[in-house]
Symmetry: D3
Subunit: 238 residues, 6 copies
Amino acid sequence: MRPSGRQPQEMRTVSFEPGVAKHAEGSCLVRFGDTHVLCTASLEERVPPFLKGGGQGWVTAEYGMLPRSTHERMRREAAQGKQSGRTQEIQRLVGRSLRSVVDLKALGERQISVDCDVLQADGGTRTASITGAWVALHQCIEWMRARSMISAPVLKDHVAAISCGIYQGVPVVDLDYAEDSTADTDANFVITGKGGICEIQGTAEGEPFSDEEFLSLLALAKTSIADLVRRQKEAVSA
Amino acid sequence: MRPSGRQPQEMRTVSFEPGVAKHAEGSCLVRFGDTHVLCTASLEERVPPFLKGGGQGWVTAEYGMLPRSTHERMRREAAQGKQSGRTQEIQRLVGRSLRSVVDLKALGERQISVDCDVLQADGGTRTASITGAWVALHQCIEWMRARSMISAPVLKDHVAAISCGIYQGVPVVDLDYAEDSTADTDANFVITGKGGICEIQGTAEGEPFSDEEFLSLLALAKTSIADLVRRQKEAVSA
Amino acid sequence: MRPSGRQPQEMRTVSFEPGVAKHAEGSCLVRFGDTHVLCTASLEERVPPFLKGGGQGWVTAEYGMLPRSTHERMRREAAQGKQSGRTQEIQRLVGRSLRSVVDLKALGERQISVDCDVLQADGGTRTASITGAWVALHQCIEWMRARSMISAPVLKDHVAAISCGIYQGVPVVDLDYAEDSTADTDANFVITGKGGICEIQGTAEGEPFSDEEFLSLLALAKTSIADLVRRQKEAVSA
Amino acid sequence: MRPSGRQPQEMRTVSFEPGVAKHAEGSCLVRFGDTHVLCTASLEERVPPFLKGGGQGWVTAEYGMLPRSTHERMRREAAQGKQSGRTQEIQRLVGRSLRSVVDLKALGERQISVDCDVLQADGGTRTASITGAWVALHQCIEWMRARSMISAPVLKDHVAAISCGIYQGVPVVDLDYAEDSTADTDANFVITGKGGICEIQGTAEGEPFSDEEFLSLLALAKTSIADLVRRQKEAVSA
Amino acid sequence: MRPSGRQPQEMRTVSFEPGVAKHAEGSCLVRFGDTHVLCTASLEERVPPFLKGGGQGWVTAEYGMLPRSTHERMRREAAQGKQSGRTQEIQRLVGRSLRSVVDLKALGERQISVDCDVLQADGGTRTASITGAWVALHQCIEWMRARSMISAPVLKDHVAAISCGIYQGVPVVDLDYAEDSTADTDANFVITGKGGICEIQGTAEGEPFSDEEFLSLLALAKTSIADLVRRQKEAVSA
Amino acid sequence: MRPSGRQPQEMRTVSFEPGVAKHAEGSCLVRFGDTHVLCTASLEERVPPFLKGGGQGWVTAEYGMLPRSTHERMRREAAQGKQSGRTQEIQRLVGRSLRSVVDLKALGERQISVDCDVLQADGGTRTASITGAWVALHQCIEWMRARSMISAPVLKDHVAAISCGIYQGVPVVDLDYAEDSTADTDANFVITGKGGICEIQGTAEGEPFSDEEFLSLLALAKTSIADLVRRQKEAVSA
């Protein structure tokens, strides 16, 4: 029934390639099927002005798509002179999601900037970004630990994300572009390793959805994210 | 327990003042306590380029805050030369919410632009905007009907929105600024008159939240929105 | 003869509503007929870089129009990414006019930012802005006095403004949109309580005007502004 | 008494050098003492969108200062990415002034863009710009006439401009930078060859000014502009 | 002597991975040692306005660096709101280089946009971009040929590029970052398969260089580019 | 054979007018035939952030064209809100060229900003800019020396620039617009008084060029620049 032939509760093939960027303190090339995102974590010895002198750090995120990561070439945001509303919405989401599992005091007065750049897009770029960004962030923090820059634990938990939706009346997980562009309802879930919800964003593209539909999506998300967290663990212990 | 002395399930005093703008085809000054938003609906005989010749219309929204609508004066976005990510996120949300109850084909090849300008802010400006925007949109559509520009029903249902959150461990509805700035979890719900969910945006500000907490917020939202819809009906039939 | 039926020397109904904005140190909703401007005065404990350490303060102004304050919806300046030349011209005029009656040394090294936002426009928005801004500024200064932040007088005089023009050959005062858009000559006058002229801006829209015509406009302006100043006094003593 | 030793009613040495720009249809290098402005008039076979198909033309103006035309180097507006409020105010003024003496219907559906670029500044750049721009515009129109592009008269009259001010209590004409930066009152007058007033802009820099003071400035301006018009005539007939 | 231990005339390991981007008509991931650039060629059925109706096509290029492709994280150009002068200089160079070997008439009235995005930087990103872009462009043109969109040859020749420089007094080829940042002279050469020179850009970073030094760099470049062209041939015939 | 009737190795009439700008510490109006560039050198007691406290100075350049310096009026970059890629490329080139002959340590922690503004363009504006900028820079440095701000020599050598190209198969020097717009190959050379090469930029507009062609252009450039340097010497010693 799904264009890809997957079962409703079946995610695409997911892989993590940590350490892929030579210069970054942390990095991960994450793949959810044909969606490929390069995540890098950059340590900077400064914090945003509103935190100066407060003794705590900050984690922020930026998001971008290569112009031909998509089916049709998109205009380059740098050439247009501004980031779209969608881009800003996504990078704010990625930043909030990561901060929800970071002990900013334990990080010390430093900033980690996580860049999520979509090399190839096939739906679910924001959830892949969050899931891969956690691996890059983890590597950056281990880099700091190896240099005795931090002592207490900085990462309090895993965080991962998945999209779910109602496709032709059936709740399905990890929508690819073919599904995403025609689904009735699309919801993104950001959930921690312990199962706590960080963020829910549900949108009815056409018809509004019911409580029951929404709960079925939440259930799918929780199962899938538990699986993603297991794979993050493998990736960072490899 | 709440700074305002309200009960957990108690909204602020809500009022609608339709027709407040002399020039606009539809308008409404909506007040949720000290949050005041001026919503106008402007009819334009054109559609965005991607819809040209398709025989359907469009509803879009823009959002802004007056510089001193807030406790501290904010910089004017027009002077800064760009809209913040937050502004863009909100105006995209308002537009999607309204479109979810509009029959764009029945509207014909025209655009209705809804402007939501916050005159005074005390928390919940985006949910007040959606709730008031529906009233302005309704008035604009009646204006068109009175001029025989449309025949079939354009508005398929009501839509309204409310914020809920966990404040000091207790689920509460319609957070004001004092609550919003310290709440653990903040969720916005956009729901139709028939109870269909258009949009859910839940964010853990600090600790992630549980499924149960989330469901209690959803329950609060559904009750409150039913009440808001009742008041919208009174406002447009007055 | 005038579209509104007013006499040549008759202003529209003018009203001031001071204290209308909950958060601002000073505010006033001013109405000249159907032209409504919300003026707020915001106290900030900083001065522009060119005044740092000089022991004197600054008063500045910004101006904006809500997109549907006008007959046709205008594009939102924040969305366009810049303020028009007209907007900048007006906000520079409002700032200069207010500074002409403020003792900047007595204010101390602080800035008062006055925002004039047009909620509804029917001609004369810049002159209404100046006239209402003085009331907001007065309230802000009284707010400071009540907190013993200042001792010497800061406001040296009233300042108010009015537009005059030649409409169908006759000099008239306080042009509304219907007159403004067809008048041959349009002049704005900013005059103090003592009758001193702060600013004159006269423009021939079509045919150049004569000295005599200009003097008749100046005479109308002086009488009308004396009346506006009297009403400002009532508003701030109420 | 004046820093330059001039009499109150004495202008600086004024010269016009028409035809100075090889490529432009009209041009004039105008000098008011050490203020030098290069004015070019460019004919374009198009009109702004709001005039398309209306059978009339348009005259518009742009203004700029070379970065080191001034005592201290100013930042280049092209590098800053925007034109200042002052620049926009001036170019709007130049455009309006020129249009007040042009028969736009006789021009036909074409646009003349007049660029006024200040090569060296010593006060009075906007009034020099208007006065020189008229000569460039005249040359452009003669260029068109020589090619039979127009038949009826396009220029209805001369237009010129001068600044006057109260310097140390005395009304003086054609302020240079030393006077302009310390004068109490500064007024710019744009007047036609027949003595009609196109534009008056009077500003009290410090103390407000009286009616009498203003009238003395107007008288000075009228005499000086009559002289400037005489010199424009010589320049274009040479 | 060279930090990498390479011989003066020894390039880094170069590899081409054509077809790496799923959506693009042509693509190539090119690697010069640790410099990795993802090149995509996107076919668009439109030409820039200045070519409309002229019966010929266009090839253009855009260039970008991922924020953490470099040793220190750079600010994202999309977030800054503009492309740097360096970025614009490079993308103009890439576009000119490609057009020098394309028969724009044979291409027909279409545009190919080549995006060169630097995933990892270690010196020589612009020359790697040109060299890889040719492979992506070749693939795009074959894609068109397979669909009978073109008949005549479109690509007239190969084009490739290399940097050469004087490092510690010795002419060396293919500078990496360690060399590039300390070299006295840096020159980029763009040369065709037949040995024709498309572009030479030589810059003395410190001391000016002599004719002899320059000729030694040109000789190195010609040899190396012949080698690069051989590898391009292998890549596209694989 | 050349449109201007010049011999292949014949430059246009070149003249320097130093000291032309009243306010600038150094200035020169340079003319290469009908190409006229006003160069000013402005001394500022500050350095860019990356040099603060390093005890050395900086020389930078900006470039602009008046809108009607060209055959067709160009859009004003300040009005467009950004500098074109071409403008940025040129101003970076001018800055590098000047710095190659300046002892930045001897300059002390100060910046000299050189502005090159094209009053009239007829090909070769960038090379004229560099050649004239050196004269303005020299005057600025003499101005400093006269005030004992510097003691050691700051200018190490002359620098001048010229364009050469293959026009109808013949190598020619100092291309004017008529040649530049149709030449097969265009190369700009920046060379010091001692004959050292600072910068070479060669571009094949159509067909790639051969080594021999390039060497013939280099030879032409060296002869012509020796001549330009001789004229710079006369200009600064006059």
